[in-house]
């Protein structure tokens, strides 16, 4: 089910991301203030936006799980949060590299955008340990869904709070006035966001397909009465 269309999606992702990076280095002009270092913007910001949207998507799937008690929604929520966490690690590292190059510091504690993203990341970093600490699969899924809903609601609230902050060093590129980006930069940025979103969906489908394959394999073993391979340890990942 999740493997359907995965190849086409992977190709589309590869083409879009390659196109985006080609635009970054051969089309978009250098920033007047930051020079060549500003190229990191086309990687860092799309990753941050997609990671945050992924966390919210995890919350939406979690709501569906709590409403329907369907384990498939729990799995969708888990995978969405998992992929978003990986992208969030990328955001923090690329952000630190950009901060070092642009501001001379790897991290600035009095910058609300940075600290708020770190808080969100640390919050979601507790998701898997939370799941792992609960043995009963149904309780594990239910508690994890509640967590995902609350944390997912915190993401837009946090974003708003940071936007309303008075003083900031972190650049505002998407403002209510439409941003200050010239057309060629804006086009590159939009393509980069589309590429990053496609990457998220591809990785999500890829992991869902793998988890379904494993669940089907387990079911087949049970039906055929073949001895199960003993599971060495507990897992935080939901099983169907």
């Amino acid at each position: 089910m999740y493997g359907k269309g995965l190849r086409a999606l992977s190709v589309a992702t590869l083409i879009t991301l390659t196109g985006a990076f080609a635009l970054v280095f051969f089309y978009a002009p250098n920033d007047a203030d930051q020079g060549f270092v500003q190229k990191i913007f086309y990687l860092h910001v799309p990753m941050a936006i997609v990671a945050l949207c992924g966390f919210v998507a995890g919350g939406i799937f979690a709501i569906q799980h709590l409403r329907t008690r369907d384990a498939r929604y729990d799995l969708r929520s888990y995978v969405a949060i998992h992929i978003s966490l990986i992208l969030a690690v990328g955001v923090l590292i690329t952000g630190a590299i950009w901060a070092r190059a642009a501001w001379g510091h790897w991290w600035v504690w009095d910058e609300p955008t940075l600290v708020s993203f770190l808080i969100i990341f640390l919050l979601y970093a507790t998701y898997q340990p939370l799941r792992f600490s609960i043995e009963d699969p149904e309780r594990q899924a239910r508690y994890a869904s509640v967590f995902a809903v609350i944390a997912g609601a915190f993401v837009p609230l946090n974003f708003l709070a940071v936007r309303l902050a008075q003083a900031y060093t972190h650049p505002r590129v998407l403002s209510t006035t439409g941003g200050s980006m010239p057309g060629d930069m804006r086009l590159t940025f939009v393509i980069a966001i589309i590429g990053m979103a496609l990457l998220f969906v591809t990785l999500w489908k890829f992991e869902m397909a793998a988890k379904h394959a494993r669940a089907n394999l387990r079911s087949l073993r049970r039906k055929l009465g073949v001895e199960e391979i003993p599971v060495a340890r507990r897992t935080a990942a939901p099983s169907l």
Partner: protein, 62 residues
Amino acid sequence: MPALPLDEAGKYVAAAYLVFLALILVYVVIMGVRLARIEREVAELDEATPERTLAPEEERVP
């Protein structure tokens, strides 16, 4: 802070893009290993289960 010269800035930009590629590569490798394990288990399952011989009624093509 003034803009870094191109040779300095290039290192930071390269590092950022390499971090991104490394993350994706590591994820793909881990998923590849998991899929290889699933394929191996499917092959073991295939070997472990006997060939099912069709009853005469089932052999007839509709």
